[in-house]
Symmetry: C2
Subunit: 92 residues, 2 copies
DNA sequence: TAAAAATACTCCATAGGTATTTTAT
DNA sequence: ATAAAATACCTATGGAGTATTTTTA
């Protein structure tokens, strides 16, 4: 992954986990396995060099860095949504 | 790739190609091969079901759909940049 | 002890490279 | 004839799965 961008699949996993605060629940919503979500978040944390969630046992809570990132992620995902809609309007 | 998101690597290739209008030049800027850029654009076009560039021989020109997408892409890439900067501020 | 996250593998899709072909100056 | 894009083929990285281990409510 080039250093200027972020992996959008990981961002989607991140945003979902941030909302539901459960790896297994997020996995269900994403149609993935708990393992895949765990990897995605771990990968994103490694990529950014920042801890995004605090795992105290089975309690998953977002960190301050995570809260910051979530704001950007919401913008990014919304813009991707709009882009898809616009492109769909070009038919076929 | 889930149907709600877009591949950020392909978006970066797209934005670069849109700027320089040359696959080989874009490849140089991205530290990729011409082949990789060609694949990326083709993949993005297939994913969106839209033609993003007109290739008349060695002339590469962006389409109307491409122009539309570029606006979204600029927002997305800029937001990713800001996200990285914010995360970098959290140190390590 | 039961439910949830982490981890250790395995597999496969695909991103990206090299080499070649095609095409338009 | 040459420079650039497309294409064929190959490789390797990593995304995602299954199974298992670890952990704490």
């Amino acid at each position: 992954m080039p250093p200027v961008i972020l992996d959008s699949r990981k961002l989607l996993a991140f945003a979902t986990l941030a909302r539901v605060c459960s790896f297994t629940q997020a996995a269900r919503e994403l149609s993935l396995t708990q393992s895949a979500v765990s990897h995605a978040i771990k990968g994103l944390e490694r990529d950014l060099g920042v801890r995004l969630f605090e795992r105290m046992g089975r309690k998953v809570t977002i960190t301050e860095a995570g809260r910051q990132l979530l704001q950007h992620t919401d913008v990014i995902l919304a813009e991707m949504q709009h882009a898809r809609e616009d492109m769909a309007a070009f038919g076929e």
